[in-house]
């Protein structure tokens, strides 16, 4: 169930250049069941900025009743979010949307998780769920540059992890798709989140595989009421049928919607 709650900040740290890891505590954590869902946060109590910001759930800790978000402080809202300190309050609406289907891959099968930049965070909770189910996970994570890399160690503890940077300043150089090709990575199911061009490439190169993509779109309500975040469906690409990224997604099966 979706809840609105004033959560308490447990911890906030800058884990890479301009990338923050924010952990908050609240009862709505009990509602967080699927990896890949997101929350809609109001970064302060004022009209400036006005709208909530959608941020993926990167890690859930039911025992402590906390969850973690990882985000890039860039615009007005996320820059303000980055100023929160332990003990501060944060208005959270969530969990929202439908996440990655973990039961699409069997124990002992292999899941490939491909993330780009701030698309990486939701894969962390996903990877934990999959490994808990006995799935082999392989991570291919792309970042702009060395200083933008985060959670390398955390992912390595869960499975094989390939890091690539767009400028080659760290680990592999180039696109995640190059890494997959060059390293001959094979898998049963692909889960991915990141920039649209990356998602398109992965969709195209894996036509006959099980692929699940997490999309981003500008949002108003975040709950399915305002029609801000719609996309065409794959079976009616120019017609009137649609899916809402916020409530039908953000995760879709490849081909389900036009990206």
């Amino acid at each position: 169930m979706i809840k609105q709650e004033i959560c308490q900040v447990i911890d906030q740290r800058e884990i890479a250049t301009n990338i923050y890891e924010l952990t908050v505590k609240g009862e709505l954590v009990h509602e967080m069941t699927e990896p890949g869902q997101f929350v809609h946060v109001k970064v302060n109590n004022s009209l400036s900025p006005l709208l909530r910001r959608p941020i993926s759930i990167a890690n859930i800790d039911q025992s402590r009743q906390t969850f973690t978000m990882i985000y890039r402080a860039e615009g007005k809202g996320t820059s303000l979010l980055a100023k929160l300190k332990q003990g501060d309050l944060l208005d959270v609406l969530g969990p929202l949307g439908h996440g990655f289907p973990v039961d699409e891959v069997e124990s002992c099968e292999t899941a490939l998780l491909v993330g780009g930049g701030i698309g990486v965070p939701p894969l962390y909770e996903l990877s934990q769920r999959l490994t808990a189910n006995g799935v082999n996970v392989i991570h291919v994570l792309g970042f702009q540059t060395k200083n933008a890399v985060f959670y390398e160690e955390e992912f390595k503890q869960l499975g094989a992890t390939y890091i690539t940077t767009a400028d080659g300043s760290y680990a592999y150089s180039g696109l995640v798709t190059d890494v997959i090709k060059n390293e001959n990575i094979t898998f049963d199911v692909l889960y991915t989140c990141g920039p649209t061009p990356m998602l398109r490439a992965l969709e195209k190169e894996n036509r006959h595989k099980k692929v699940f993509l997490s999309l981003e779109e500008r949002m108003g309500c975040g709950i399915g009421a305002c029609f801000a975040c719609v996309c065409h469906t794959g079976d009616d690409p120019t017609g009137v049928s649609y899916k809402k990224v916020c409530s039908d997604g953000p995760v879709f099966r490849a081909g389900e919607v036009v990206i």
Partner: protein, 313 residues
């Protein structure tokens, strides 16, 4: 004593607070958050004759104390609204105001005729003012004669009272209001969004794919208050006010300006519980201001001024 119940043409409301059209879908999403029967009414998303996909995304952008939207009247079309959405909504004890849109006169008439028959539709809101639709639409909301004629034709076919939603993007709002009153409108709803735009400084392109969008939210409240203040003194039909409402105090400000009920749009996105919150706060606020009933607030800003002038003369 109930301090909030209000009677308007076709509408017998528990309280004068309702979500504005387009900001609440057909109620399904918010029904998971609270009981919709608490609301005074619900203004449902614009309905057109045929289903529409609307504009390409991005469709929304944030602005200072406001937002732009260019949804483009996406909706499932008349048949689906009448056969699925309205029956679903009938489980709640809340009157529905159906927002009617179209590109041509015939579209409006067809939608109005059929949707007004639905048992829980107690009034129509004629959307002659949507800034995000390229064909036709704009003249309906900006040319008094065309607005009047459309109102008249819709009135002829509607089974329920008709409220006309005015666009603020006009030189003379009073002229528009009088025209639709003369066309037989039972009430007015105002204001729709102001046409606005934002440009992304990195890409150089408009942030909204449709280029322009409708500006809503607290930023536009002073424009809405001014227009309702002007119009309410010149027409004798009631006004449902909207534009940036975020608090119970704002509701009173709208009443003072001349509104008889108030709709909340954009702020539903910021605080999904805003309507029930405002409804809960109103009785105490009204009493603390010295009123027994919210209807006493309507038009107080100009009634006060009149009284003062009279007294001084």
């Amino acid at each position: 004593m109930n301090a909030l119940n209000i009677s308007l043409p076709g509408l017998s409301l528990k309280n004068p607070i309702m979500p504005a059209s387009g900001c609440f879908g057909f109620g399904r999403e918010y029904s998971h958050l609270y009981d919709l029967s608490q609301l005074g009414a619900i203004m449902i998303k614009a309905t057109t004759k045929e289903a529409r996909f609307g504009n390409p995304t991005p469709r929304v952008a944030e602005t200072s104390a406001g937002m732009l939207n260019a949804i483009g009247l996406q909706n499932p079309g008349l048949t689906k609204v009448v056969e699925e959405e309205l029956p679903w909504l009938s489980q709640f004890d809340v009157p529905i105001i159906a927002n009617v849109a179209g590109s041509m006169e015939e579209d409006y008439i067809a939608v109005a005729k059929e949707i007004s028959q639905a048992p829980n539709v107690h009034a129509l809101e004629l959307n002659i003012s949507c800034p995000n639709v390229k064909t036709g639409g704009i003249a309906f909301g900006t040319v008094p004669e065309i607005a009047q004629s459309l109102t008249k034709k819709v009135k002829e076919v509607s089974a329920v009272p008709v409220y006309v939603k005015l666009s603020p993007n006009v030189t003379n709002i009073v002229e528009m209001a009088k025209a639709v009153e003369n066309g037989g409108a039972d009430g007015l709803t105002m204001i729709n969004t102001l046409v606005g735009m934002r440009i992304d400084i990195r890409t150089g392109k408009p942030v909204i794919a449709n280029q322009t969008g409708g500006l809503s939210g607290p930023a536009i409240k002073p424009v809405a208050i001014r227009m309702i203040h002007e119009v309410s003194q010149q027409v004798s039909i009631p006004i449902i006010g909207m534009g940036g409402v975020e608090t119970a105090e704002d509701v009173i400000e709208y009443f003072y300006a001349g509104a008889s009920a108030v709709a909340v749009g954009t702020m539903n996105f910021v605080d999904p519980f805003i309507c029930p919150k405002i409804i809960a706060e109103l009785p105490e606020l009204i009493h603390s201001l010295g009123f027994d009933h919210i209807s006493e607030c309507t038009g107080r800003s100009w009634k006060t001024v009149e009284k003062l002038t009279h007294h001084r003369a």
